[in-house]
């Protein structure tokens, strides 16, 4: 990669991150900390830029720069106040934070070396996601006809469109761009986990738990391999963290729900499993409707506002390309019924899940052991059992697991092929969110952190 290419690539990332930051702080003024806003910026920005590329294509730069200018103008009004608040944050940097940063830098270096060796990514990375990106970039206006020739043409285009957008910045389809992008998003998952736990719990757990995510080799490898599974995992984490934050900040009608809706929609725009996530999250948010109908509907209304654009784009893509989903297309009523009533399938899938819980991350040592020890020693915060955000998060994860179980139950593919080629990836979708929810449970109190939270508000 020449310095010129690196420069254009950096410009593409800068615009993406700034767009994400401005949207985050403007949608949720005074409700989200500056740290979390910056942590969320790459994933929110990638969603926005991907949609802009998909909808506008040629005038992409005009739309991006116009939007950036407008958002910057609006944000300028808040800048002074933000700076003043930030200047009060002259707190010490804990040694754990330094350690986390050092490990993150090490992992980043290793990831970039890996991307350099295999710039096109692993099998699904090039055969699906980068193949789609190449059609978007190379086939011009006829991409819609030719993308049907690829493997899984029905897969949503968040990642391919974001990669093709970077190639537009560079001026040619440099394969490393996609790898650098997915590494950035993978590491964003770590920073979102740290920032959201820092905001919701306290300092020490917010540095410890992200270390476990960094120490999950398969999570990192999926990102380096340019699979869409890691971005999906990060969107799921972002949504659950935002839901918890919403319940903490303003239980009745906080605008954080708009951002949560957007990240949920982006999950659907990333992978078909994200569409399951949209359905599950919507149901989880609507669950309290019988107890508190007005509040729940207001909450859902805000969520739906954020969800609308990415979901509409996903539906438009599905209708425009009209490619059948291989799993759904091959479903037959009689065969499905036979599978649903076959007890052996339940046992086989449950066994595979149990095995997957142990091995999904390709951990040399399973992080569940120290996590359980942490909860045992520090205790569980029982107040969480009554916290709407945490309960919604747990409900979503449980429902996602059940949905994945259901997909395996009725899959037209042989289980002995389908499970080994996909289960670990599906479990990694939920792994960062599980870490977040467990981190929320740990009862470690450092009261001094609370005062810092109040000071670190962006606008």
């Amino acid at each position: 990669m020449t310095p010129a290419i690196a420069g254009f690539l950096a410009a593409g990332f800068l615009v993406m991150v700034l767009l994400g930051y401005f949207v985050t702080v403007l949608v949720c003024p005074s409700e989200i900390s500056n740290k979390l806003a910056w942590a969320m910026a790459p994933v929110v920005g990638m969603g926005i830029c991907s949609i802009i590329f998909f909808l506008f294509r040629r005038p992409m730069f005009t739309v991006e720069f116009s939007l950036l200018t407008v958002l910057f103008g609006v944000w300028l009004r808040y800048r002074k106040r933000t700076s003043e608040r930030l200047s009060r944050l002259e707190n010490h940097t804990p040694i754990l934070a330094v350690w986390l940063a050092a490990v993150m830098a090490w992992v980043t270096l290793g990831s970039f070396i890996w991307v350099g060796v295999g710039p096109h990514g692993d099998w699904d990375g090039w055969a699906i996601w980068n193949a789609h990106a190449r059609y978007l970039y190379r086939a011009g206006p006829v991409w819609r006809d030719h993308i049907k020739d690829t493997a899984h043409p029905d897969y949503p285009l968040l990642l391919p469109a974001a990669t093709a957008r970077l190639w537009r910045y560079i001026g040619k389809d440099v394969p490393e761009a996609g790898g650098v992008q997915t590494v950035l998003i993978t590491l964003s998952g770590v920073t979102i986990l740290a920032a959201s736990l820092w905001e919701l719990r306290n300092a020490s757990v917010s540095y410890l738990v992200p270390l476990l995510l960094l120490g999950s080799p398969f999570y990192l490898i999926l990102g380096i391999s340019q699979y869409a599974d890691t971005p999906l995992a990060v969107y799921i984490l972002s949504t659950i963290a935002l839901l918890c934050l919403h319940w903490k900040r303003e239980p009745e009608g906080s605008r954080i729900m708009v951002l949560a809706g957007f990240t949920t929609g982006c999950a659907g725009w990333t992978k078909n499993e994200g569409l399951i996530f949209i359905a599950v999250t919507t149901i989880a948010i609507l669950l309290p409707i019988f107890r508190r109908p007005a509040v729940t509907m207001r909450r859902f209304g805000l969520f739906a506002i954020g969800l609308l654009l990415p979901l509409a784009v996903t539906i438009y893509f599905k209708v425009a390309v009209l490619a059948p989903n291989d799993l759904v297309a091959e479903l037959g009523y009689a065969a499905t019924l036979a599978k649903v009533t076959d007890l052996n399938r339940y046992v086989a899938i449950a066994t595979a899940f149990l095995d997957g819980f142990w091995s999904a991350g390709k951990w040399p040592i399973h992080p569940g052991i120290p996590l359980i020890a942490l909860l045992a020693v520090c205790g569980i915060d029982r107040r969480l059992m009554r916290n709407g955000g945490w309960l919604t998060g747990v409900t979503i994860l449980a429902a996602m697991l059940l949905a994945y179980f259901g997909v395996y139950l009725i899959t037209p593919r042989p289980l002995e092929y389908h499970i080994p080629t996909s289960l670990n990836r599906l479990l990694i979708h939920l792994w960062p969110s599980l870490l977040f929810l467990v981190g929320m449970m740990a009862k470690i109190s450092t009261p001094e952190v609370a005062s810092h939270h109040e000071a670190d508000s962006p606008s």
């Binding site: 490990v103 060796v117 295999g118 055969a127 030719h146 270390l211 476990l212 080799p217 990192l220 490898i221």
Partner: protein
């Protein structure tokens, strides 16, 4: 207490406000610290696992796609020169020309080449495309079937063939 028997005063720790930290609390605090150190150690050990994977990576040139990209480049330039940018391109091997089923390695090669030639659409078992990509990396055919003419052979195993039966 052993300390009392030996005449050693017990270690006393004070909080910042001057009050004494109870022994029970000290033990609990030490246990918490130990667990946290253990958690860091596990995370770091797993990062070491990731690092060892990075250290075992082959060099960039070994990556199949990178190799195919280089091999495809001269043929791509030739096709670009004649204005054949988008459309179908056939895929043949020495085995397929003999009418034999593809080998496992040929299936992998075809999938990789499919990605490399985008936006051209690499199709197998079709004879109605104006150009065909010959993957002769596993061996050249003794002779080409009638109608197929070799038009570009960069010497890396890939050969561009023209189907003279298609106008």
């Amino acid at each position: 207490m052993l300390q009392t028997k030996l005449g050693i005063p017990a270690l006393t720790i004070y909080k910042p406000n001057g009050t004494v930290v109870p022994e029970q609390e000290m033990k609990r605090s030490a246990l918490k610290s130990a667990v946290q150190i253990g958690l860091i150690a596990v995370a770091c050990w797993n990062v070491v696992g990731f690092t060892s994977m990075v250290l075992k990576l082959p060099s960039r040139g070994v990556h199949h796609i990178v190799g195919w990209e280089k091999a495809w480049e001269p043929i791509h330039l030739w096709l670009k020169g004649v204005g054949y940018d988008v459309g179908d391109i056939g895929y043949v091997t020495a085995r397929s020309l003999r009418g034999e089923p593809p080998s496992e390695i040929e299936n992998v090669n075809r999938a990789e080449l499919y990605y490399v030639v985008i936006p051209l659409n690499l199709v197998q078992n079709r004879s109605d495309t104006p150009y065909l990509l010959g993957d002769f990396t596993a061996g050249r055919p003794t002779e080409l079937p009638p109608g197929l003419v070799e038009i570009s052979e960069p010497g890396n195993g890939l050969v561009l063939l023209r189907n003279t039966l298609i106008r």
